[in-house]
């Protein structure tokens, strides 16, 4: 049994066939090396001219086209009828096309995204609940790394249909801080203090000037919007430092962050009901009164 199989193999691998197989292996190896050299050469040549996405597109186009050409060379060397194969490929293509609608949708979306250029590698984007740095923009998907070091793959078709925020597109941004202060706070003094805080923080840009908006009369206090501009790389430095500065300065200046509270009034004509703080310890009951009540002592 084993001998007959060996005999069959020996008969199959004739000298001519062996030569052809070795030729195919050599052509495949040389072809892939050539493709690698060609794509890296073109990448090097176009690096300064094209963006990273276009560079990737050109590289992939070279690699895929080269691979297809190699395949045809190999098939013709092996004696496969290419014309018949191309005819069959048409039918297979339709079948594969139906089966891979999602992939095609992602691929076309990828091409649109590359041409539209809403982001670049290294940008920080926000898609749905995810915020992260773009690692790669591929034909089918976008890969991002979140700030807690998770790797997320987002299909291109989803990106095309979803609202996307490019956080670092522009070099400067504004940090909006909502502050609620008590009704007794002197508004002009508060504005002066906020401007001083912004002026003393090195990460806060002097220009554009900080924004202070008297936003709303709230239930417990007055709400202000304090907007400070910063360079995009300084987000965390600014946020941490300015929040701490606001808290410390407000405490030093006696400006309160009000807790929710109610003012109780009996009716429109009377002043608010006086409220008195009661200590935990109950006052001792007068002895005489107790005596008289139970009548025993």
């Amino acid at each position: 049994m084993l001998y007959s199989t060996f005999q069959q193999l020996m008969n199959f691998f004739t000298l001519e066939r062996l030569q052809r197989i070795i030729l195919v292996v050599l052509i495949v190896a040389a072809g892939f090396i050539l493709l690698k050299i060609l794509s890296s050469l073109i990448e090097r040549m176009t690096r300064k001219v094209l963006s990273q996405q276009y560079n990737m597109l050109v590289r992939k186009a070279i690699q895929y086209t080269g691979a297809v050409i190699l395949l045809f060379i190999v098939l013709s060397l092996l004696g496969v009828n290419i014309n018949a194969l191309l005819g069959a490929a048409g039918i297979v293509g339709i079948a594969v096309g139906f089966a891979s609608q999602t992939s095609m949708s992602n691929l076309i979306s990828g091409l649109f995204l590359i041409s539209e250029k809403p982001f670049e590698i290294g940008d920080v984007i926000k898609v749905g609940e995810h915020t992260g740095v773009i690692l790669s923009i591929d034909l089918l998907s976008l890969k991002i790394k979140t700030f807690d070091n998770q790797y997320i793959r987002i299909p291109n078709s989803l990106l095309l249909n979803t609202e996307l925020t490019n956080v670092t597109r522009f070099p400067i941004r504004r940090l909006d801080i909502k502050l609620t202060v008590g009704y007794r706070t002197d508004v002009n003094r508060l504005k002066r203090i906020l401007l001083e805080i912004a002026g003393s923080n090195p990460y806060c840009l002097d220009e554009p000037e900080p924004l202070i908006v008297f936003a709303e009369f709230r239930e417990s206090g007055i709400e202000f919007l304090f907007g400070v501009w910063f360079y995009r790389d300084h987000y965390l430095d600014l946020k941490n430092s300015i929040m701490q500065q606001i808290k410390e300065r407000f405490e030093a200046e006696g400006i309160e962050f009000p807790f929710p509270h109610r003012t109780l009034v009996a009716d429109a004509a009377t002043p608010p009901l006086p409220v008195k703080q009661v200590t935990d310890r109950l006052p001792a009951k007068p002895r005489a009164a107790r005596k008289s009540k139970d009548g025993s002592a």
Partner: protein
């Protein structure tokens, strides 16, 4: 004007010094206190900055062995691996690494056809060099941490430092501090209208620092204004500033001015001058 006694100290600040092994050396340049030590294998450096301007000691202290290491012990040190470079240390004044937007406390009005020269004091950075004959730069420390500002529109502008100062016309009125370099700025208004400017961006990366008789100087900056709609021209004078005969070059510009700078400058000159 600085007292005669501290004039020598100003010069001594920037002189190279051989230091002993395993000994902390201290220097004070305006609000900046810096300590440096060389061990057999490493260089150690630490610093502290006085944030309250009122408390800044006006008298500079050149590099000297520190009396006590108690203050150093509570600070965070930075360590560099030492090579064969020897024990020589030199502190050099250098201008900030980004352009500085000068915001005069009182806007300056330049009548048409007039030239106005004013002086601004720019806080220097201190470059720490070690070794001889080949010097190694350990780091650069700003004497004053300047606030950031944005110059230009929010998309194409640039990040600069902001400096609120008095643009003094009279040199005698310009404060003299060891941690400041005086920059002479000449504005030539050749526009048909008066020029009222609120701020000016000085590209300090193209300016060198010079040691004068009593103070540090930078090259003179000349701004030619031809009107809001026309491009201006900025020239960085390459020579020693003429206000101090004894001024000698101390530290070259980070980006020395090339011939092409002016040509390149034309497209952004309008935003550069901020008029």
């Amino acid at each position: 004007m600085a007292p005669a006694r501290s004039v020598g100290l100003h010069r001594k600040l920037w002189e190279p010094k051989e230091i002993r092994l395993e000994t902390w050396y201290h220097t004070r340049i305006g609000p900046l206190d810096a300590w440096i030590k060389r061990s057999q294998a490493d260089w150690y450096l630490t610093h502290e900055r006085q944030r309250d301007r009122e408390k800044v000691q006006p008298r500079p202290v050149p590099l000297h062995p520190a009396q006590s290491s108690a203050r150093v012990e509570r600070l965070t040190w930075t360590r560099w691996v030492a090579g064969e470079e020897g024990n020589r240390v030199q502190f050099l004044p250098v201008l900030p690494d980004r352009s500085v937007v000068i915001r005069p406390r009182y806007p300056l009005n330049v009548p048409r056809g007039k030239d106005v020269l004013f002086f601004v004091n720019i806080p220097i950075w201190v470059r720490i060099l070690v070794g001889l004959p080949e010097t190694v730069m350990l780091c650069e420390l700003p004497t004053v941490v300047l606030s950031n500002t944005w110059f230009g529109d929010p998309i194409t502008g640039e990040l600069c430092y902001s400096l609120k100062t008095r643009a003094m016309r009279d040199l005698k009125a310009v404060e003299n501090h060891a941690y400041m370099a005086t920059c002479p700025v000449l504005i030539r208004n050749q526009a048909p209208s008066d020029l009222d400017f609120q701020r000016i961006c000085i590209r300090v990366e193209h300016l060198s620092v010079y040691q004068g008789e009593t103070r540090l100087w930078t090259n003179r900056v000349e701004v030619l204004f031809r009107g809001e709609e026309l491009t201006g021209q900025i020239t960085f004078n390459r020579n020693v500033p003429g206000f101090d005969e004894a001024a000698v070059p101390l530290c070259p510009a980070r980006e020395p001015v090339e011939k092409s700078l002016l040509k390149r400058s034309f497209f952004f000159l309008k935003s550069l001058t901020g008029f």
